[in-house]
């Protein structure tokens, strides 16, 4: 795993000099209907920031050549970053957008994600604080192949341009590339899925994203006539009807946003933000509205002398939602309300609109202060009732009006007036500070203003149409302006209303025909349903799918100690990587029976690939007795579970050939012929019927034990390391066959194999010679020979016989210790573990140190190896000398 530092280093190697990757993070990009791994990096170059999106040929990347730049998004004024963190989803969704480009990233919640997102936020704040012309991102041009969105976002700085349409178109194609919803069949890049991309889940953020990409399909546009008015009233009360200003058009506007400045210049207004003028002017506005329609006031906001009032026609009222307003003072001390701005934001149908009324710093030479005020308003005016808060730029449409106070410079007032009187406005407009500052992109970047065809609106002698006659003899200026930003906005009128003479300013108004997106509820539902259905369908289509070559695994004849295996081929026939696992059935402790081994029992398979699973069937000393008694069968249903998907049942069957191994002592003593000659039913009966069946007189000990011991007695007493060295597997099989089938040949195999077969025979029984219920009693008595003796005397007859028979034999062995090198302690340890085999489930509470247990078992048996056993009452046939 590479650390974040390593990753930054790799990314840094991919960048040019002067560019610094300051932060990076792994994320999943939602691409249409799948998500794919990406690496994001925030890159800085001379205080300009950009978000780089990399595709990596492996995750995590190891060298910079693993990375390819997919897209570069400049952190400019169009850049937005929103976070969606569902409380329970366990994932964080980050929306990155830049004009029409929308990208949705899924990130793993945690400190890394938090750090990365806050780095992005910091870069956005840095941009906000930036003064002067906005960054140009020259350094990104070399990445232009990856920045198709950049070109469209980079709109013409000219105040008026019609490039808007093209911008939309350009961005649209980018947007469409991201989403293939219109294609009849969902084209899902199988290749990328095979490489680990996964279909997107139906989550809220994803639905929202899908819906926003489909917006055109369920919205239509409606034209809204928007009247914007601004007037600096110089602290005076209304003294004439406002109709010539507000109702100058034939048709009534749908919406009014009317702004005032210097509503009240009194100290009271400034200090206490309280003025009777508010209501006077509000009433004047309402009285002056277009008579042909009824209006409702949506909001009114005022800061000292700046007031903005928003009204809509009654019929639109119900479509206006999420109204909010805020004020920002930029006046005295940089925060008082004598200068600054007030804003109202609303959503009308599906379009968000922000109106800003501002009064920027005064005085001819103070244009930089005005620029500063603009930037302050942009960064400080935020509607805090939304989470995250919405700023001016977060709106689809923005109208900015007010006394912006920009003047005409480098021109004598006399000449200015002269030019005006000759109607030569264009020369003057070239000297207009606002136009110049906007050309330098120092202010109102991204905004547009209609051509000015009206005379400057400042400064007049109040009550007249005469230019300022005071001593100051101010040059006329277009202080009062209306600008806008956003798509689908068309200015129809831009004019002043000189007939209103109340103030030293003339009121200005603009009429817009703006396209509002209206949701067609029926279509919305339909599209929503389509999206949901598609997600449903995807979810089902992208459920893991496999086929197995065989659901019935049949093992033919299975014999004790002979492993057999078969292969199961699991092929991933679905479209997504599959994690499979054999799972437990209800109440089972393991996913398969003890005689079966599955390898691998869990794994992953990529689409189109397969996995060979080996099923090995092996009946050993642990499982044999249950199969002999019929308690268990070679039959199991395995549940092959696909993570997040279905389960497949695999049936495993086999035919077990019963053996003396795994048979109980009680059954064996009743069988006089080789086990294989007994019908299965009879064997099962013998295993399960406890009292002696009639018929033959049972043997005192199983003949199989006798065969083995007798062989060892006759040939192996002098053999070194008997019972200590293991035999050969093939010989064990041969011995098993000899015992089970009977033979006139001598017993096959080496002495070691025969010794091991004897141990195995004793270990394969369901219960050891000393039954489980006496296990702890024996351990408790281990130090006391008399007690041990008593226990043995009380054992059921056949068990006692076998126990003593074997002890006699072991004593015989020990009597040849000189030759065979065996000692009583070693044999006691070996046979202790066999005679006193641990019960299958020793409870955790009573569990003693196993070494201590083993010592106790050994000392129990030891008594019987070193003491004289001749006083035991024994069946005479048991004497080793009495061979058949």
């Amino acid at each position: 795993m590479s650390s974040n530092q390593d990753l930054i280093g790799i990314i840094q190697a991919k960048l040019s000099s002067g560019e610094t990757a300051s932060s990076c993070h792994e994320a999943s990009l939602m691409q249409g209907w799948v998500r794919a791994s990406r690496i994001l990096a925030l890159v800085e170059h001379e205080n300009e920031w950009a978000l780089f999106i990399f595709i990596s040929s492996r995750m995590p990347p190891e060298v910079f050549t693993d990375l390819a730049i997919e897209r570069v998004i400049p952190v400019d004024s169009d850049f937005k970053c929103e976070i969606d963190a569902g409380e329970q989803s366990g994932d964080v969704y980050v929306n990155i957008s830049s004009r029409k480009l929308k990208l949705l990233f899924e990130m793993i919640p945690g400190i890394k994600t938090n750090n990365f997102v806050s780095e992005i936020m910091r870069s956005m704040e840095a941009l906000m604080k930036l003064r002067g012309p906005p960054p140009e991102f020259q350094w990104l041009h070399k990445y232009s192949g990856s920045t198709s969105n950049r070109n469209s976002a980079d709109c013409d700085p000219a105040p008026v341009d019609a490039a808007d349409v093209d911008v939309t178109k350009g961005a649209k194609t980018v947007a469409e590339k991201m989403l293939d919803i219109d294609s009849p069949d969902i084209v899902v890049p199988r290749q990328s899925i095979a490489q680990g991309a996964t279909p997107i889940a139906a989550r809220e953020s994803v639905i929202r994203y899908q819906m926003s990409m489909k917006e055109d399909d369920y919205t239509f546009t409606e034209t809204l006539r928007v009247f914007i008015g601004t007037w600096n009233v110089n602290g005076l009360p209304p003294n004439a009807s406002l109709s010539p200003w507000l109702a100058s058009d034939m048709e009534p506007p749908d919406l009014y946003a009317v702004g005032f400045q210097e509503l009240d210049l009194s100290k009271e207004a400034f200090l206490f933000n309280d003025t009777p003028r508010e209501e006077e002017w509000r009433k004047a506005v309402i009285a002056g509205l277009h008579p042909a329609a009824k209006y409702r006031q949506v909001a009114l906001v005022r800061l000292v002398g700046m007031m903005l009032i928003l009204l809509v026609q009654e019929k639109h009222e119900k479509h206006v939602r999420n109204v909010a307003w805020e004020t920002v003072g930029t006046g005295i001390m940089g925060k008082m309300g004598n200068k600054g701005g007030v804003g109202i934001r609303v959503e009308i149908h599906n379009t968000s609109i922000c109106f800003v009324n501002s009064h920027l710093a005064a005085h001819v030479e103070e244009f930089e202060r005005r620029n500063q005020d603009y930037h302050d308003i942009c960064s400080r005016l935020s509607f805090s009732k939304f989470v995250p808060t919405k700023c001016i730029k977060d709106h689809d449409q923005v109208y900015w009006l007010g006394d912006l106070n920009y003047r005409i410079t480098e021109m004598e007032p006399r000449i200015v007036r002269d030019l005006i009187s000759h109607n030569s406005l264009s020369a003057l407009l070239e000297c207009d500070q606002l136009n110049r500052q906007r050309q330098h992109k120092n202010v109102f970047d991204g905004y547009r203003e209609g051509p000015i065809t009206f005379k400057p609106t400042y400064k007049y002698d109040p009550g007249t149409d005469d230019w300022d006659s005071s001593e100051k003899n101010r040059a006329p200026a277009w202080c009062d302006r209306i600008l806008w930003r956003g798509d689908g906005m068309e200015q129809k009128e831009y004019r002043s209303h000189p007939i209103l003479r109340t103030s030293d300013h003339k009121p200005v108004s603009a009429l817009f025909e703006s396209q509002i997106r209206v949701i067609d509820v029926v279509k919305y539902r339909k599209v929503h349903e389509e999206v949901m259905k598609k997600l449903d369908k995807l979810e089902n289509e992208f459920l893991p799918q496999v086929t197995v070559d065989n659901t019935e695994i049949i093992f033919d004849i299975v014999r004790f100690l002979e492993p057999q295996s078969q292969e199961l081929i699991i092929a991933n026939t679905g479209q997504v990587p599959v994690d499979f696992e054999f799972i437990k059935k209800l109440d089972d402790s393991k996913y398969c029976k003890e005689w079966l081994n599955i390898d691998p029992a869990a794994s992953s398979i990529k689409p189109g690939e397969k996995c060979d699973v080996k099923l090995e069937l092996f009946v050993d000393k642990k499982s044999a007795s249950k199969l002999n008694s019929g308690e268990d069968k070679l039959y199991d249903i395995l549940v092959l579970h696909l993570d997040g998907g279905k389960d497949i049942f695999i049936t495993v069957t086999g035919n077990y050939e019963r053996s003396c191994f795994g048979s109980s002592l009680e059954a064996l003593v009743h069988i006089s012929v080789p086990v294989r000659e007994i019908p299965i039913g009879k064997l099962v009966e013998l295993e399960n019927v406890r009292e002696a069946p009639g018929g033959m007189e049972p043997y005192p000990i199983p003949k199989e034990i006798w065969f083995l011991v007798d062989h060892l007695y006759r040939h192996g007493l002098k053999k070194q390391n008997l019972f200590l060295l293991t035999g050969l597997h093939s010989e064990l099989i041969a011995i098993r066959n000899w015992l089970d089938n009977g033979s006139s040949e001598p017993l096959p195999g080496s002495l070691y194999s025969i010794a091991e077969a004897l141990l195995l025979l004793l270990e394969s029984t369901a219960e050891p010679i000393v039954p489980f219920n006496l296990h702890s009693v024996c351990l408790g008595a281990a130090t006391n020979y008399l007690q041990c003796k008593q226990i043995i005397m009380q054992l059921p007859e056949f068990r006692r016989n076998v126990f003593l028979y074997l002890c006699f034999f072991l004593q015989e062995l020990l009597s040849h210790a000189n030759e065979n090198g065996l000692d009583a302690k070693t044999l006691a340890t070996v046979f202790g573990a066999i005679f006193l085999r641990d019960p299958p489930r020793v409870s955790a509470r009573g569990r003693v140190n196993p070494a201590v247990m083993d010592r106790k078992k050994a000392s129990f048996v030891y008594h019987f190896l070193v003491n004289d056993l001749s006083d035991y009452v024994m069946s005479k046939s048991l004497h080793l000398s009495g061979t058949s």
Partner: protein
């Protein structure tokens, strides 16, 4: 703005049970894909399907487990009953034996699910009326006697398929509203977070009932 992580408020787990060949998988397929599978192989295991539906304005995700009907798998399929909010018990109207086995399926369902589990009886293949072997009336009576919801449906024509799944969901939703189904009870298979593995654990209540993404 609400940011519920899921676009649905609940997850209901369904199981489909009944004899082999009654059309359980076809019913599931018809419900999720709106298509009839004409040569549907026997289910060897448990198939899994999902669909989001709407009940009383609430988005509900159905996770449907379609079990193998073969008798030999009965012991294994019993593992899948636990935590089911709905059980669709299916018989074939053209094969009386599948109807006769219903009481044994019902016993399993009652024993292995919780009391609030909604059991819906479906008489499938009602398009084959000519070959009918079980009358509507007697099945209806059986359903009434045992408090089961009941329709005859056809996975082939799609008739009543949607209804059976939706009615079951409505009933479950009602139980939640009435408080009869305790979302917090462990044995009801309720958990508060859908498991990543596709929800082996059943009925999930997403606490933040998510709002429609677009307010209109």
């Amino acid at each position: 703005m609400s940011v519920g992580p899921y676009n649905y408020s609940y997850i209901f787990k369904y199981i489909i049970i009944g004899d082999m060949g009654v059309g359980k998988s076809c019913l599931l397929h018809q419900f999720t894909e709106k298509k009839f599978m004409s040569d549907c192989p026997h289910t060897i295991g448990v198939e899994f399907g999902t669909r989001i539906i709407e009940v009383s304005g609430q988005k509900i995700k159905l996770q449907i487990w379609d079990t193998a009907g073969q008798e030999r798998f009965r012991a294994v399929t019993r593992s899948y009953y636990r935590g089911a909010a709905g059980a669709l018990m299916v018989y074939d109207i053209t094969r009386r034996s599948t109807y006769n086995h219903l009481s044994s399926w019902l016993t399993d369902t009652r024993n292995l699910t919780n009391p609030s589990t909604v059991i819906f009886l479906i008489g499938n293949k009602c398009d084959l009326n000519a070959a009918r072997d079980v009358t509507y009336e007697e099945a209806k009576q059986f359903a009434d006697e045992n408090g089961l919801m009941f329709v005859e449906a056809s996975a082939k024509s799609g008739e009543n398929v949607e209804e059976a799944f939706l009615e079951t969901a409505k009933k479950i939703y009602q139980s939640i509203q009435d408080g009869r189904l305790d979302l917090n009870a462990a044995e009801s298979g309720v958990q508060h977070k859908p498991s990543q593995s596709g929800g082996r654990n059943t009925l999930v209540n997403d606490q933040t009932a998510s709002k429609d993404s677009c307010s209109c």
